[in-house]
Amino acid sequence: MILSNEEIKSITDAAIEASPADEVEIQIEAGERADLRFGRNTPTNASLTRFVDVNVKCAYGAREAFAASSGADPETVRETVLRAAELARSAPESPEYVPLLGVQEYEDVDGWDDGTASLSPSLRADTALTTIAEARSRGLVSSGYWENAATVAVIANSAGLTTSQRATNANYSVTMRSSSGASGWAAAASHRAADIDGSRVTRAAVAKALASENPIELPPGAYQTVLEPSVMADMLAYMMGWMSRREADEGRSYFALNGQRLGDAPFPENIVIRSDPAYSALPSRKWGEGGLPLRPTTWIDHGRVKNLSVSRYWAARNGLEAIGRPDVAIMDGADASLDELVADVRYGLLLGSLFYVRLVDPRTMLLTGLSRDGLFLIEGGKVTRPVVNFRWNESPAALLQSVQRLGGSCVAVGKETGASMVVPPILAREFHFTSVAPST
């Protein structure tokens, strides 16, 4: 349920009023989520959820605790505040306590679309029907997922901070499989559902599935590889999660080992990674920890590690500026198309998406995972054959060090993480495939 500004103010005022603690902070996330899932060319489930989550933090001096509930009626809000206060009263003092933030200024983020907020079950079914009909006409089996949401997020506290953000989002993903098991996947995401072209997503998945028939098996090894944007979205999502100043300062991070330090330049000069919650193609949350404003930030500046996220505690302890971790990262690209990157490769691979990615070694950010739904051989600058999938072991840091050429940046969805990022396709000097994984 989308709360009005008056309802929000009434709830947050009541929470602050009800608190017996020295400090109180209330966060609300409320809205509607709807989805339609299909498999075997038939709908498998579809839902609509109206939700309200209320999270309260209370503190007595440096003794603090959180409580949460799924309701915004006065009785539930009051009970949640009192529960947080009771937990805080009996908690020991936290050496990592930081006082509440006062009034803040935030970026102006426009991430709301009325059409997305009011999307009907019939419109979701229409999109799925287009995909299913295409699959049936081509003798393929489709599966997919449409999701749209309209939410309002709120933070307010007894130190005077208060802000809210309304947002919509939608995403659609499709997997097409042939009777031989050849598989293709494509996805799109936007805060405007009308910007998602279901037919285009369907065609991309169909094309990949049809091109993946009769793959050849290649030996494992290091291949010059073109990585499509979905792969980069996943890789970037993992790396951004580990770009933390505290872990680096404590000596338990890639950004503290192997000679890499804040200010060093481990990556090529053309690597620029930044974030901006107001980025128009992919708007995101404008605040982080405790209402900390998320500002436009450059993380990797022409190959140099310029910023790591800094928690409010770590900043206070070390005299640093607190820097929140963004939901969305933007990796600058260049003007090459995917075809132009492929044209640069005499013998290598085109990698479309990743699956089951896990951390193997935090010292190097080494990940393991699999290729899925589109791996192709490149010969003489052209895609020539589908290739049987591989397991790979690779680090996003080593990958960025290996970049030879960048394509144009676009909004892409990581198949593994589901994260939407603004990323280019890249040509990497090498990507380490370690064993054959004959699954489709």
Partner: protein
């Protein structure tokens, strides 16, 4: 009237009546009141405890042969009826997409109550008492000089889950689970290396007594010593060798390579857009030589302390036990009511689960366990039969492909075995194999006295992704000639 005072039956009746009136041919409702508490500490720093309570309802209907579902955090007869009508609207919108209407296998509707046996409710234990234990754990681990960090936590959940259906079922369950965990990290004196050792304590379906029955302080002291020892341990020399996997590690291999591979919804393609499918065919029951003849694997929701142990699944089907692998051959698959008939089964194996009021039930794993060997083999008996091998304790990094063939697993502790004896701790190890080759190389399984239960609170599947708790038991087992790799040289 406050939400808390409205009876579940009244809300259920309103929802089911409204669904029928709107044209549903079947309807069910789950009303969930869920408590969770997360208490954690870093070194000697208590971190803020989080206490979460959710209360909501979800109505699922069949109309026009298709599913529809609607959920809300407002638990009233009026909202239940509104959700029912919305669910029917969704189902009718989707009915034009289907070629074959959903068919449910029969299930006897019952009126029943069930609860996890609990000696001490985790929510009656003050957060301060839990925190005191965590700080003591951290202190024990950090008594070893080079252990600079230790994080620990206790996570507990209790869910009152009410289920009612248009067929007449009315089931009230109270399900309690708990998980203590810590991780000690040692840093080399020159700051150029760090190694961690995570606790082996498993999440279980039980009360706080499961925490106090463990020697967590003793394990923390050992973990500190072992984390530091990993800094000095020789790296694994890669190559093919025999493996002995302890239950604290083998549970994850069972989960990924047998549990997920034998889910009928994956086999049919329901998960093709997300979690993947399976190399197993529905027509391979009784034919596929999944493992060596000494391997027997069962699924059940009845094992004491099992994370998936309940009285009834989320379609109201009574908990039961069934064979998945019998004498090495595929014997059965995990099913729910709408899929059982597809493989010719008369009834569901009771594998439906939804992780909250707001999610639809999916086919999820029951507890799946490797049965002990028939003879009373011990860990030492298994080691004695190995010339060059690796023994792994605790789960580490893991990954498996979308049809559950190719996998890579690490662990917390690796010990080289030479000439029938444990030789030394090693580091930077993992193994790669594929499911059928691996399970057919199993030549010894420990006896009943060595059987232990492990598992995960958070097995992910479905869109939107749902987390399911599930346990896996086993004895130590031996696997021949497996490819081991050095993860520092990948």
């Amino acid at each position: 009237m406050a939400q808390h005072e409205i009876s579940n039956s009244a809300v259920a009746s309103a929802a089911i009546d409204a669904a029928s009136a709107a044209g549903a041919t079947y309807a069910d409702i789950r009303i969930s009141r869920r408590l969770s508490q997360f208490v954690h500490a870093r070194e000697q720093t208590p971190l803020s405890a989080t206490d979460r309570r959710t209360h909501g309802l979800g109505v699922r209907v069949l109309a026009g042969g298709a599913w529809g579902f609607a959920a809300s955090t407002s638990v009233t007869p009026e909202e239940g009826a509104l959700c029912a009508r919305r669910a029917v609207e969704i189902a009718k919108a989707n009915s034009r997409l289907i070629e074959t209407p959903v068919t449910l296998a029969p299930s006897t509707p019952v009126q029943a109550v069930w609860a996890t046996p609990v000696v001490r409710d985790p929510f009656d234990v003050p957060a301060g008492e839990k925190l005191e234990l965590l700080l003591a754990i951290n202190a024990e681990a950090m008594r070893t000089a080079r252990v600079k960090f230790c994080q620990s936590m206790i996570y507990s959940t209790r869910e009152q889950k009410f289920f009612a259906s248009s067929e007449g079922a009315s089931i009230d369950q109270n399900i309690c689970r708990i998980w203590p965990e810590f991780k000690a990290t040692a840093v080399s004196s020159d700051g150029a290396d760090f190694q961690s050792r995570r606790s082996l304590a498993a999440p279980v379906g039980a009360g706080y007594e499961a925490v106090t029955s463990l020697d967590l302080l003793g394990e923390a002291a050992r973990a500190g010593v072992e984390a530091a020892a990993k800094l000095d341990a020789p790296p694994l020399v890669p190559g093919r060798r025999d493996l002995i996997l302890m239950p604290s590690m083998l549970w994850l291999v069972i989960h990924e390579s047998i549990g997920h591979a034998t889910e009928l919804d994956r086999i049919l393609g329901y998960e093709a857009n997300f979690a993947g499918t399976s190399f197993v065919g529905a027509d391979q029951i009784g034919k596929l030589q999944y493992a060596s003849p000494i391997v027997n694997v069962i699924g059940e929701r009845t094992r004491p302390n099992g994370l998936a142990t309940v009285g009834f699944d989320d379609e109201g089907v009574a908990a039961s036990q069934f064979d998945i692998i019998k004498s090495g051959v595929l014997a059965g698959l995990q099913t729910i009511r709408e899929q059982a008939h597809i493989i010719g089964d008369a009834a569901s194996h009771g594998c439906a689960f939804a992780d909250s009021y707001a999610t639809t039930p999916l086919q999820r794993m029951p507890n799946i366990s490797l049965l002990p060997g028939k003879s009373a083999l011990t860990r030492e008996d298994l080691i004695a039969g190995v010339e060059d091998g690796l023994l792994i304790e605790g789960d580490g990094s893991w990954s498996i492909d979308q049809q559950r063939r190719n996998f890579q697993f690490g662990g917390q502790l690796g010990y080289s075995i030479k000439n029938g004896k444990v030789d030394s701790l090693v580091r930077d190890f993992a193994f790669q194999s594929n499911t059928l080759e691996f399970w057919n190389s199993c030549d010894a399984i420990g006896g009943p006295d060595t059987f232990e239960l492990y598992g995960t609170y958070f097995c992910g599947k479905g869109q939107p992704c749902q987390a399911a708790p599930v346990s896996h038991g086993s004895s130590p087992a031996r696997f021949r000639n497996v490819n081991t790799i050095n993860t520092a040289k990948c």
